[in-house]
């Protein structure tokens, strides 16, 4: 969201700096998520708790699907299709909310409590930290949606949309690592 007075070349120069900064932030966050994975393998080893596999499969599918609609949103603004862009954003946010409901409303209502030793700590630590990032992504989507609704962004200049989309994909990617670590690897106790 740079000043509209600047030329396209200046905009693109700023955007390339922004993009590098965003990816450096991803690298930073990757270390935090990796730290949680380390905690999971250090404490759980080759065991894992009995968890509801169906819920996990559904929310994973929902989150992967949301990356598709997020990608549609970015492609549509690049083709100046504002209506489709706004709708795709809303679909993405809705899928994100479904994911959150799945985590908090179903996953967290199982027989494992946060105070249940390493099982509870790691399960709630990893899903909680990830859910917090999903919330941040939904907030980001609504800011972008609101600005898009007011007529901001164009086919040439939509760094804000791109940043939001990449952030959403990144959160999605983290879950691609967290899901097997929590639900698939190791023997259920």
């Amino acid at each position: 969201m740079s000043a509209s007075a600047i030329s396209q070349a200046e905009y693109e120069q700023q955007e390339s700096a922004n993009r590098l900064g965003l990816w450096l932030f991803f690298a930073s966050e990757a270390f935090m998520f990796a730290g949680l994975l380390v905690a999971r393998f250090y404490l759980w080893g080759d065991t894992r708790p009995h968890l509801d596999q169906a819920v996990a499969l559904i929310i994973t599918a929902v989150l992967l699907l949301s990356s598709y609609s997020m990608n549609r949103a970015e492609v549509m603004i690049a083709h100046d299709d504002r209506k489709g862009f706004l709708n795709s954003l809303l679909i993405t946010a809705a899928l994100g909310v479904v994911f959150l409901i799945g985590v908090i409303g179903f996953e967290w209502q199982g027989h494992i409590r946060p105070t249940d030793g390493a099982f509870g700590a790691v399960l709630y630590g990893m899903t909680g930290m990830h859910a917090l990032h999903v919330v941040s992504g939904i907030v980001f989507i609504f800011i972008v949606w609101n600005n898009g609704r007011k007529g901001h962004y164009s086919a040439d200049r939509h760094w804000g949309v791109h940043a939001c989309a990449v952030w959403w994909h990144y959160i999605d990617l983290v879950w691609v690592f967290f899901y097997p670590a929590l639900y698939l690897i190791g023997t259920a106790q």
Binding site: M1, S2, A3, S4, Q13, S16, A17, L20, G21, L24, F25, A27, S28, E29, A30, F31, M32, G35, L36, V38, A39, Y42, L43, W44, G45, T47, P49, H50, H111, I112, R113, P114, T115, D116, G117, A118, F119, G120, A121, V122, Y124, G125, I143, N146, N147, K150, H152, Q189
Partner: protein
Amino acid sequence: MVIFSLGIIRGIVGQIVGTAVGLILVTLIRLLMGLPAWKAEPAMIIGALIGAVGFMIGVGALSDWFKWMGGKETPMHHGPPTDKPAWTRYFSVDYNHKVIGVQYAVTGILLVLVAGSLALIFRTELAQTGLQYIEAATFNTLFGMHGIVMIAGILLGVGGMINYLVPLMIGASDMAFPRLNAFGFWINVPGAILVISALFMGGWDTGWTGYPPLSVLAPMGVQAFMLGVYLVGISSIVGSANTLVTVAKMRAPGMSWFRMPIFVWAAVATSIIQLTATQLIGLSFLMVTVERVLGMGFFNPVLTAHAIEVGSPPGNVVLFQHLFWFYSHPAVYVFILPGLGIISELLPVFARKPLFGYKWIALSSLAIALVGFLVWAHHMFTAGMEPFLRIPFQFATMLVAVPTGVKFFSWVGTIWRGKLEFPTPMLFVLGAISVFLIGGLTGPPNGTVTTDLYLHDTYWIVGHFHATMFGGFIFPFFAALYYWFPKATGRMYNERLGKLHFWLILPGFWVQSLGQIAVGLLGMRRRIADYDPALGIQNGHVWITVAGYVIGLSVLVMIYNLAWSARKGPVAAANPWRSRSPEFQIPSPIPEHSYAEAFVITGEPYDYGLPGATYVAMNPSAAPAAAD
């Protein structure tokens, strides 16, 4: 109210209001849930977090971003405020990297002073056996506070050097993200306030490392300390990302990677560590927080009945140490790499000779940073860690000595047959080398498993650590303060007072460091308030304490010198040191926008004394610049 025109005052008010909101919020939620209304720790945590946001809103670091969220564009303000005195910009949000650099450096010095004063209190206690002045619990809080406030102060000092120097050295008009830069500085202030407020919440007794299970059981002060560190960590992460983007994208034409000033290489290496490893100390402290408040047993080895029923494995305290040291060992390279960069930067100027082995020095900074990621478990040889990890970590640790040795050889090679000059910055550079040598040589015995089993948790470690910090950060930082003082203020510091500072601190530090090493070998444990008179080390402790006071006195001399000279000192020339670096080719003090015209790099940075060599062509559109 005039006073509310200062950002920092609005910020502190914001922090107080935010904290109160957090306390009330938690209490109301607990009332609604039918729980006993008041529980101190959750209320304090939420209060601290909302308080930090309140500070950032109050100071104005978020204003532009809030406008962006609403789709409004904001111009980039530059220059001193028009409706207020010029000095007020240092107490408010300002986007000029030079202002932010000074804010970082001055806040850093303040924190170092606070932390040093705390050390003098418990050093006075340690000068005699028995307990005379403070209780054991106070002693514990004081040394933990000394450690963490020093670390915050050093991080701010590093931030000061990087923010002030990197854009100037690469010819950028500012950092890549000026608003993020201001945010990165100001988030430290609520962080520091939180850490220091731990004193009033019962303190804590774990030291700055915060190991569980003690940190899970400690008074609430430990929580304030960890949240404060969390905020300072945010500053490290956003600041380092900013530095890396600035260096990658905004170098002057002709400045290839191997024509950058050597300090910029050090800043890059430091930033790589800060960007990534900082997350792990944040995560480890967050885990302690949720274990304290929510009972999530990451580290607790004792299982509840229900946990046994669901077949959960127990928590493990060693996990904390792995996560914690994954940051906290590389963190010492965050402190020393910029300092070592300053040494390499200044030596050629005062030896009037090319820097010996430029590429080796540049890459040795990177090598220290990268190898530094693989050595953390050498802090854990006695911690009950998996035994098979000992030998790999021992050898990885030894490997750090190789690039560090490269730096020493380069410094000796640069001094060799140079035409040495000895103004205050050069004295501090040479002093830094001598002190860092003490720290460097006492390192490998700690990294070797067989010797570390005896040296671990003794005063030997304290001596080693302080020598690396003084040689790697404090001395070079002081050198940098004197060296760039004329560029920042336009005035010269007092050379006699500068030399007095040096000749007090150098012998003072030698005595302190060698004394600590000696009493450590004679059986002094670290982090204890008292020791057995039969050890025969009381004289050693007296020497260490007296040396500590001498160091404190010398720093006061420096502060008087710089504060006085900034207003009354003689007007400085543009290039008092005959440096080739671009920031010395423009007037003192440096103008608001630094370079009136973009310059071009035409040669190697450190070809001092080579006839006809040029580095910077200041006016590429005009005639070629004269040779140095």
